[in-house]
Assembly symmetry: C2
Homo-oligomer: 123 residues x 2
DNA sequence: ACAGTAGTTCAGTATTACTGAACTATATGA
DNA sequence: TCATATAGTTCAGTAATACTGAACTACTGT
């Protein structure tokens, strides 16, 4: 098992960030890690959607996020503690991550609202 | 040849936008269209990189940008006039596109500076 | 040592992307 | 009208990525 690789902040690319976050599952994982103050472990996201995500898939998603420079993972015993690299990235590309996470939140709200309108059990 | 399809603004997704712009060529095409005040035709980007881009590939790139909702294409005789949908998108996801284009510009500048430092014909 | 947990790696499969060749559609000139 | 040229699309074969079950590594507790 080779050690975890994290790119230097200067090797982080906009395209890599956009690609990593262009997948719904990864975007959700990143947003969740970014929103919380505690590190999150990978297996916290096994039940991310209606279909439970296979753990090999989950592992790949974390690898993509890590190699894009979005998260930093640290082994703690048997588990991985994941935190974001928002501060570093925000220094390199000011405003990029906040704009994306805001857009994702906006989209989620709109989606929830549309769902409620079209027959969810809204009041 | 079927007519050009543009998604309604409410069907435009953050993931779709990020995916479309996660490719260097497409990011460059979009940035160029966004930066200019005149519509751009597809073939203006045939010589986008060192290797000339095949026109079938270019056509696909425009299709991806169009279907992501980033550009609007209109037939004018034999050519396609492409403009961005920045205003609409900025209304739906405020600040998202400016942040991405700013980041792309920043990255380009950094890259050019690094190139100059490491042996380009800097002053 | 054994069992349990967290995550990775591998390999087969499925999906997506790239691109040369053939094609459509429009414009222009003889 | 017919030939030619230009701009872009579609198709089909191939290449590259992504997904995922199974086997594996690494660590923890008993």
């Amino acid at each position: 098992m080779r050690p975890l690789q994290h790119p230097a902040i200067n090797d982080v690319s906009v395209e890599g960030i956009l690609h990593a976050l262009s997948d719904s599952h990864r975007a959700h994982i990143f947003a969740t890690i970014a929103a919380g103050s505690q590190p999150k472990i990978c297996s916290a996201f096994l039940e991310i959607s209606d279909q439970p995500l296979p753990k090999s898939t989950l592992s790949q998603h974390f690898k993509v996020l890590r190699e894009a420079g979005l998260i930093r993972s640290e082994r703690r015993g048997v588990e991985l503690h994941n935190i974001t690299r928002c501060e570093e990235i925000n220094q390199r590309f000011p405003g990029l991550l906040p704009a994306i996470t805001t857009a994702l939140v906006t989209q989620k709200k709109r989606g929830a609202a549309a769902k409620a309108r079209s027959g969810g059990q809204g009041r």
